[in-house]
Symmetry: C2
DNA sequence: CGGATTGTTTTTAACGTTCAAAACGTCCGT
DNA sequence: ACGGACGTTTTGAACGTTAAAAACAATCCG
């Protein structure tokens, strides 16, 4: 494997000149640059990243903790990872995966990776309501950016990128309204979830705006499962008054709604419009397709990397992005 | 950030002694070791991985190319990644993610990562029928191990770990047989797929063993989609003779079967037993649950890392693991 | 023509670690 | 008391790169 020294000898210049040819080509005379580049090509030289990192103390690696348990964003994790990876590579960086215990117990792992100079910083996801990681990392001066806001705190430590859940719910409500639905319910989670509060809030506000009823139309599911979604839907339908639209907080809950509707002989899309959240692979796989709110993964990843690598340079480090409504059969005009 | 030098000064020994305390503690006198360790702890010293890697030319990083397009194993990618990551960490290593074009076009990316000393080797997945990567990497002497066999080649370049698809299909057939099914069909893919041939072969052999018919019971779907699975099932059911069991090559195809059965008023599990492959998240989410063949992810990951890191040490570098049949409602005794 | 200015290249010295060899002790047998 | 053997610690050099400063060369200005 060729080294700078060998290239230098071949091109009959000093090592530093070869280094400059790669990192600051404008400093070289045109003909020298050409000669050096020819030697580089000829010897098939590739800079040793470890040596470079040792000298510059920047490893160009970004840590990402792979979540261990399924939950709401789990189904789109591969999309996210691919986008993140691609965005990192556009800046010459890469993603280093690791596992860590949840919450504050995982912090030593983060600290260790940083202290050993294995990563420059972290991208956090699976942000939780009182996520202790943000404050801890900020405290230690370890660079990071969060995908997802830490809810219920006035000022969140550190930078973040998130998708506007309230706006998403509102989009879903207005979409159902446009196809004639007038009693639109919401399938949510327990109050403790900040993400849940964000999304239910969007539903509530949009309904109020449009003059739609909300009383008795918000149901809280105990967990994010098909079963719970179905049960909650049953409760709604047994309530006596009709429901012609359901905005679910997740694709999983929406699937439960679809199942319960079908079981009762109601046609999703025709009799009741249903929407989900996150546009997971499930959404286009069920029958009829599930209308859902897609997170703009590429944009999210791009922003995360831009902010983390400091390229943001003055522009805000808190970015709220808009989801996109992907319309499928489950919300076909009734 | 503390360095070896600082620790050495603090413990009043040479740098090399501190290095030995970490890498070869048996060489130190007990009291020296204790003193050095106290200093390490006190200064919260962590070895700089870049410096170590530069010296030893081993980065303890394993490259994994994140697949860009959905396909059969896509739905369990996060399970795989988590297992791989955990297995790597058990040996002090980590996973570096990257993206690359498919097939031979991606090879420069692999080469580059290796030449720049950013990874020690690679784990390949999404192995394809005439996958050119294995031969190429072998040629370049770049360490790698493959999750999945390169099909239709007598001897595959390099080491691999795979799951026995034929055995899986056979398990499914015997399971359905045990609950009284006697006409068991197979939903497969076009002949070009080696993985498909493996799985259909297992079905065929098991049926022959049990004295079950196979003629006209193997259907090839054009692609891996719900729609195709449903269509193929329809073709089977329209064939005149009854079918009381369906072994599908993938969970997706199995879902299609479930849909078509339900559409015709047949109860999956009761009237026709259905099984899928890979035990994706979909399997436990549909109603009734889909019986499926789980890939032993933790074991797969463990083997991959063991082989790649050379810890295998004489033991075979070709490991065929057995899937596990996860029984759910779709194959409830008829 | 001397001095300043700018542009290009080289020299020197790190970055933090480990390897290999050398040095230092201590103990042993004779 | 001496050479050898062993166990422990230190010394010197190297891994491949880049930052900073120094050296050199060409150009410009009055």
């Amino acid at each position: 494997m060729a080294t700078l020294k060998q290239v230098a000898a071949h091109a009959e210049v000093s090592v530093q000149t070869v280094s400059n040819a790669l990192n600051a080509p404008h400093r070289l005379r045109a003909d020298t640059l050409k000669r050096v580049n020819r030697s580089i090509e000829l010897l098939n030289y590739r800079p040793n990243r470890n040596a470079r990192s040792l000298r510059t103390s920047a490893v160009e690696l970004i840590g990402y903790c792979v979540p261990s348990w399924p939950n709401q964003t789990h189904l789109v994790m591969d999309q996210f990872l691919h986008a993140l990876c691609a965005a990192a590579e556009r800046t010459g960086r890469h993603i280093l995966l690791f596992t860590a215990p949840g919450g504050v117990d995982g912090m030593p792992t983060y600290d260790d990776l940083h202290a050993r100079r294995m990563v420059d910083g972290f991208v956090l996801s699976q942000t939780e309501t009182h996520d202790p990681r943000h404050g801890w990392l900020k405290e230690q001066d370890i660079p990071f950016v969060s995908f997802g806001r830490v809810w219920k705190q006035t000022t969140q430590p550190g930078a973040w990128v998130d998708v506007d859940g309230a706006a998403g719910s509102a989009m879903a409500v207005r979409h159902l309204y446009a196809s004639g639905r007038r009693r639109i319910a919401f399938l949510g989670w327990p109050k403790s979830s900040g993400l849940g509060e964000d999304r239910v809030g969007g539903w509530r506000d949009a309904c109020k705006d449009l003059g739609l009823p909300i009383a008795g139309l918000a149901v809280r599911c105990r967990e994010d499962s098909i079963e719970e979604g179905a049960r909650a839907t049953a409760r709604l339908l047994d309530g006596g008054r009709t429901v012609d639209g359901i905005v679910a907080l997740s694709d999983i809950l929406a699937l439960g709604a679809l199942r319960e509707l079908t079981r009762r002989g109601l046609a999703p899309g025709h009799d009741v419009g249903v929407t989900g959240f996150d546009d997971s692979p499930l959404a286009e796989v069920v029958s009829p397709g599930l209308t859902s709110l897609r997170q703009p993964m590429d944009q999210i990843a791009e922003e995360l990397i831009t902010i983390l690598t400091g390229a943001a340079n003055g522009s805000p480090v808190e970015r709220l992005l808009q989801p996109e409504l992907v319309i499928r059969g489950s919300s076909a005009p009734g």
